[in-house]
Amino acid sequence: MSGAAMVTSAAGGLVSFDLATTPLREVNQFLHTGLGQTTRVRIDNPDGAHSIAVGMDAPVQIDIAGNAGYYAAGMNKHASVTVHGNAGPSVAENMMSGTVRVKGFASVAAAASAHGGLLVVEGDAGLRCGISLKGADIVVGGSVGSFSMFMAQAGRLVVCGDAGDALGDSLYEAVIYVRGEVKSLGADARFEPLTEADIVALAALLEQAGLHDKDGKPYEPRSFKRIASARELYHWNVDANQSY
C-alpha cells in the first residue's frame, strides 16, 4: 500500500483514493483487508475503470465519484456503494446483500444473478437488467431495455418508466412491476392484477429507493402493473410443438 495515495480525514472515518494516481488493485485491497474503523470511502477519478469495489464484505459506505466501468460493486455483501455517475455493464453482478445506487444510467445486465440486496438505478438501465436474478431487488427510476429479467428466479424489479421487448422471458418466481409501457412480454410472462401485498411491497421498495415522480411526489403503487410467470414452462408440454 502506497500510503501517500491514501488520504485519511481528521475524523478518521473517511478514507479517500484517487484512481488517477493509485492503482485500482491497491484500492480494492484496502477495501478487502484494510478498512479497520473506516466507515466511508471515497474514490475519485474512476474514469470508467473496471471492477471498482468488487467483492465487498463490510458495512461501509463507498462513493465512486464519477463514471464506473464494467462490474462495479460486483458480488457486494453488506456495503452501500453509490456511483455518482453512470455504471458500465453488469453493475452489482451477483450482489449478495447491501445497497448499490447508480445516480446516472446503468449499462447492460445490471444486477445479473444477484442473490440479495438492493440495486437502485436512478436513470435508465440497459438490456438484460436483472437477468437470472436470484433474490435481489432492483428499482429503476427510468426505463429498462429488452430481455430484462430473462430467466429471473427470485427477487423483484420495479421500473418507473417503460420496458423493452421480451420482458420477463422464461420467468420463474421473480416478480416485475412496471409503471409505463411494456413493449412486449417474453415467453410465459403475463400481466396479473396487483394484490394488496404487492401494493405494500411496492410502496416499501419505492421508499427505500427514494425515487419520486417529475413533480417530486412519491409514485402511487397502484399505478404499476404486475408481471409474473404463467408457470407454463415449468413442465414440458408435448403439444406445444416447439412454439416457444
Binding site: N45, D47, G48, A49, N67, G69, Y70, N86, G88, P89, G104, F105, S107, V108, G126, L127, G145, S146, F147
Partner: protein, 295 residues
C-alpha cells in the same frame, strides 16, 4: 473483444486537434484489442479529378522504387509501412496493376478525403508509427483488434473499406460471413482477406452501390447479418454507429458543442476536454445514429 473509437470535430477551428484528442482514445482501448490497430482519418478533399489511395506493404518495401514507376502522381507521402498516393489515375486500373506487378502492396482505401493506416502491434505502437497525434481533419474512425476468427495480419486489421471514402470497424463476430461472401462473389465483388468484418463492409457497400441509402443498407443488414456487432462507419462527411438487436457489444457516445466522441467504453472518453459536461448515452439496439461533419 475489440475496441472501437470515433471522433468528429464540430468546429472547423478545432480540426487541428483531431489526432491529438483521438490518440488517447485509441490507446484507452488497448485491453480490448492489443494485437492490431487501424485509423481512418477524413480531411480536406483533394482537387476534382484526383483521388487519394492509401497503400500498405511489408516493412522494407522500396516505396521510392514504386514511386518512380507510377505516372500521374500528384502526391506521395510515405509513413512507415504505408504510403498515401494522390493521383489522377483510375483507381480500378491501378488496383489491378498493383496486384499484377506488386502483389505485396495492398490498397487500403480510395477516396477524396480518406487516409487509412492499419497494422499489427499495440495501439500505442501504431499511433506512434503513423504519427496519429498529428492527424488533422473533420473526423476519424479507429479500431483496436483482439483477433478471434482470423489471423493477426495487417489485412485483417480494421478499418475495412469498400468503394470510395467509406470505412467500417466492427466489435463483435458474425456467424454468416461465408454465406454473405458466397452471395457477393458471383456479383464480381472480390475480398482481400478472410475476416468476418470484410463481408459486412462489402455487403453494405454493395447495397449502397445498388442505390440504397446508408440507412436502408443498414436496415437490410439487420435481417441479413447474423451475429453480434457494433459497427462504426465513416463517410466523407459523416460518422455513423449501429448495434445489433441484442446490443451485446458495448458503445458509448459523448457529445459537446465542440465534438462527438464514440468509444466502446468510457475509459476512452475520460480524458477528452469538456467530457464532464458532455451528454452521454448508449446507442439503442437496431437504431442508426449519424453525425455530419462541417467542412
Amino acid at each position: 473483444m475489440c475496441g472501437i473509437v470515433g471522433l468528429l470535430i464540430k468546429k472547423p477551428e478545432l480540426q487541428d486537434r483531431l489526432g491529438e484528442w483521438a490518440t488517447p482514445m485509441l490507446i484507452g482501448m488497448t485491453e480490448r484489442g492489443p494485437d492490431s490497430a487501424g485509423i481512418a482519418v477524413y480531411g480536406e478533399p483533394v482537387a476534382d479529378g484526383l483521388r487519394k489511395i492509401s497503400l500498405h506493404a511489408p516493412a522494407g518495401f522500396d516505396w521510392q522504387g514504386l514511386q518512380r514507376q507510377l505516372a500521374d502522381v500528384a502526391g506521395f507521402e510515405v509513413r512507415a509501412n504505408h504510403a498515401v498516393l494522390t493521383t489522377s489515375a483510375d483507381p480500378v486500373a491501378l488496383r489491378a496493376w498493383f496486384k499484377l506487378t506488386h502483389p505485396m502492396v495492398h490498397v487500403l482505401s480510395v477516396g477524396r478525403t480518406i487516409d487509412l493506416y492499419k497494422d499489427v502491434g499495440t495501439p500505442a505502437q501504431i499511433a506512434d508509427r503513423y504519427g496519429m497525434a498529428g492527424f488533422r481533419g473533420t473526423h476519424l474512425v479507429a479500431h483496436t483488434r483482439m483477433a478471434t476468427e482470423s489471423a493477426v495480419t495487417p489485412e485483417n486489421a480494421h478499418p475495412y473499406t469498400a468503394g470510395e471514402d467509406w470505412c467500417l470497424v466492427h466489435n463483435g463476430s458474425l456467424s454468416n460471413p461465408n454465406s454473405l461472401r458466397r452471395q457477393l462473389e458471383p456479383l464480381g465483388i472480390s475480398f482481400d482477406g478472410d475476416c468476418d468484418t470484410e463481408a459486412a463492409c462489402r455487403y453494405f457497400e454493395w447495397r449502397m452501390r445498388e442505390g440504397d441509402s446508408l440507412e436502408q443498407a443498414l436496415n437490410k443488414g439487420f435481417d441479413e447479418l447474423d451475429g453480434f456487432y457494433t459497427f462504426l462507419m465513416g463517410t466523407s462527411d459523416a460518422l455513423a454507429i449501429v448495434r445489433d438487436g441484442f446490443a451485446c457489444k458495448p458503445a458509448l457516445v459523448a457529445e459537446t458543442d465542440d465534438w462527438v466522441a464514440i468509444a466502446s467504453e468510457y475509459r476512452s472518453l475520460a480524458h477528452l476536454p469538456g467530457v464532464k459536461g458532455a451528454t452521454l448515452f448508449e446507442p439503442q439496439p437496431e437504431r442508426i445514429y449519424a453525425w455530419r461533419a462541417q467542412q
